[in-house]
Symmetry: C2
Subunit: 274 residues, 2 copies
C-alpha cells in the first residue's frame, strides 16, 4: 500500500514519524477522514475544506494548497486500487522547541480498509451509553481521542456501540459521530454548538431542506427522555439508528428510515456527478 | 544522543514510530518526565511508580518490570553524560485494529536538555491566566496537551507564563504544574481531586509534615480573590511564585520563600543519599 508523506508518495511500510513530533509527545495534531465509494472519494471537497480549517484553527501549517493535495490524493487512489476504503489525512504538530512548541507539521495521507456497522445495526439500531465530557476544541477534528478510547471497556461491558457525550446539561456528539433526535413533538433536532460539524450531518441538513427542517440548536439532555427517534451520522456510520441510550428505548421510526433513504440518494447522486 | 526504544539502546536520530501508532492517530499514550541533578535522577522511584500506574489505568502494557526499566535508564544516563537534563518516558497506544483499538505499546525513553524558569521568575513570581477546562483522565499523565498548546498564543498575548485550569467552580492545576495557595487565614491549600499528583507536590506534602500542614482539599476558585500567596510546583518549575492571576495580584511572602528553601533542602538531601 502506498501513502503520501509531506507531498511524496511512498510505501506505507517505510513511513514513520520522528519520536519528537508533537503528535507523539503531546497528542497535538488534526486529521480528517473520508471514504471511497465505487472508487470515488465521497464529498472530498467538504473534507478538504474542514481539514484546512482545522489546521488553521490549530495553527498548523500546510505546505500544499487544497488543489495540490487533492491532486496527490487522486494519484494515491489510482495507485492503490481500493474502491471501498478510507482515506485518512493527518497533520501533526511537528518538532518544536522544548517538547511543547508547535513546529513544522508532518502531513501523512494513508488509505485503509473500512469497517461499516452490520446490516442488522442499520435495520434495528444500536445502544449508546452517556458520559459527561466535552472534547478539547470541539469544532476542530483533533487527534485527541483519549477519553473515547479509554471508555471502550465501559462501552463493551454495557453491550453498547458507542458513547454519547453531554456537558453542562446539553447533548453534544459521540466519539466519532453526530446525533439527530426526533423530539416528542416530531421536530428533528441536532446539537448546534461545541460539536464537530460532520460532513454527513452537513450533507443531510442541506439535502433535507425541501423535505423537512433540521432544527440546529442547543439540545438539553432531558429531550432524550421523551424522544421518538434517535440516529447518528458519520462517514462510516452513514445514518445509523439508535434503539437505546442508557435505559431509554427508542423505536426505529419513519423519520429515521426516510433519512436513511435520503442519504443513500445523496451518495448515489454524488457518485453520478463525480 | 542515545535513547531507549522497546528495551534497546539506540541513536535518537534513528528512532521513529510507525504512522499507525495510536499515539499519532488518536493522541493515545502516557508519559512521565524527571530531571537529572548532578547526574542523579531525582525522585526516580516516584516517577517510575506513577508511570506504571498511568500505564495500568490507560490499559497500556509495559513489557519491562520497574527494576528492568530503571536499570536501562541508568545505562542511558551513563552513556549520554548529561548531568543536567530531563528524561522522558513515553508509552504509546500501539498499533491496534481499525485505527481505534489499543495495540502493543511502544516504549520510548529519551534524554533532553532542560529549560528552567529564570532567576528573576523564581524571585519575583510569574503571571497566570485562567481557563475553564478539565484534563481527560486528570489523575493520569496522558500525552494529551491539546488545550494547553492551543492556548499558547492567548498566554503569550496576556504576557503570562502559563494557564490555570478550573472546572465547575474549582481550581485544579496548570498545564504542567500543580498549584498551592495560602488563603486569607494563612492555611496552605492544594487541590485534592481531578489533578495530576505531581511528584514535587508529593515530596513537599511529605517534606513539610513536621513544619506546616498542607490542606489537600477542593479549592473553590473564589479562594484566589483573597489569597495571600500562590505558587506552583513541577519538575522544572520546582517552587515557582505566582504574582498575578488574571487581574488579581499576589506578593511573594514568607511561606513561599520558606517552601522554596524546603524543596531545595529536599533535593540536596536526595542527592546526598543517592
Amino acid at each position: 500500500m502506498k501513502c503520501i508523506i509531506n507531498g511524496q508518495i511512498q510505501d506505507s511500510s517505510q513511513v514513520s514519524l520522528p519520536i519528537n513530533d508533537l503528535a507523539i509527545l503531546r497528542g497535538y495534531g488534526i486529521f480528517d477522514f473520508f471514504r471511497l465509494s465505487s472508487g470515488i472519494p465521497l464529498f472530498i471537497d467538504d473534507h478538504l475544506e474542514r481539514f484546512y480549517q482545522s489546521a488553521q484553527i490549530a495553527r498548523l501549517e500546510l505546505i500544499h494548497s487544497k488543489d495540490e493535495l487533492k491532486d496527490l490524493i487522486y494519484q494515491l487512489i489510482e495507485i492503490n486500487h481500493m474502491p471501498i476504503s478510507g482515506i485518512r489525512m493527518v497533520l501533526t504538530g511537528g518538532t518544536g522547541a522544548g517538547a511543547y512548541a508547535i513546529g513544522k507539521s508532518n502531513l501523512i495521507v494513508t488509505q485503509e480498509p473500512i469497517i461499516f456497522p452490520s446490516e442488522e445495526m442499520f435495520a434495528q439500531g444500536v445502544k449508546l451509553i452517556t458520559h459527561e465530557y466535552l472534547r478539547d476544541i470541539p469544532h476542530v477534528k483533533t487527534i485527541n481521542y483519549m477519553t473515547g478510547i479509554w471508555l471502550q471497556n465501559q462501552i463493551k461491558e454495557a453491550g453498547a456501540f458507542d458513547v454519547l457525550y453531554h456537558h453542562q446539561g446539553l447533548v453534544h456528539e459521540l466519539t466519532r459521530s453526530n446525533i439527530f433526535i426526533v423530539n416528542n413533538t416530531g421536530e428533528l433536532l441536532t446539537p448546534a454548538n461545541q460539536v464537530l460539524h460532520g460532513i454527513t450531518r452537513k450533507q443531510l441538513i442541506n439535502g433535507l431542506k425541501e423535505e423537512m427542517e433540521v432544527v440546529v440548536t442547543d439540545v438539553p439532555i432531558g429531550v432524550l427522555n421523551s424522544a421518538r427517534e434517535v440516529f447518528i451520522t458519520g462517514t462510516t456510520k452513514k445514518v445509523l439508528p439508535v434503539n437505546q441510550i442508557d435505559n431509554m428505548h427508542y423505536s426505529i421510526g419513519s423519520v429515521t428510515k426516510r433519512i436513511q433513504e435520503v442519504f443513500s440518494d445523496l451518495e448515489k447522486a454524488y457518485l453520478q456527478n463525480h
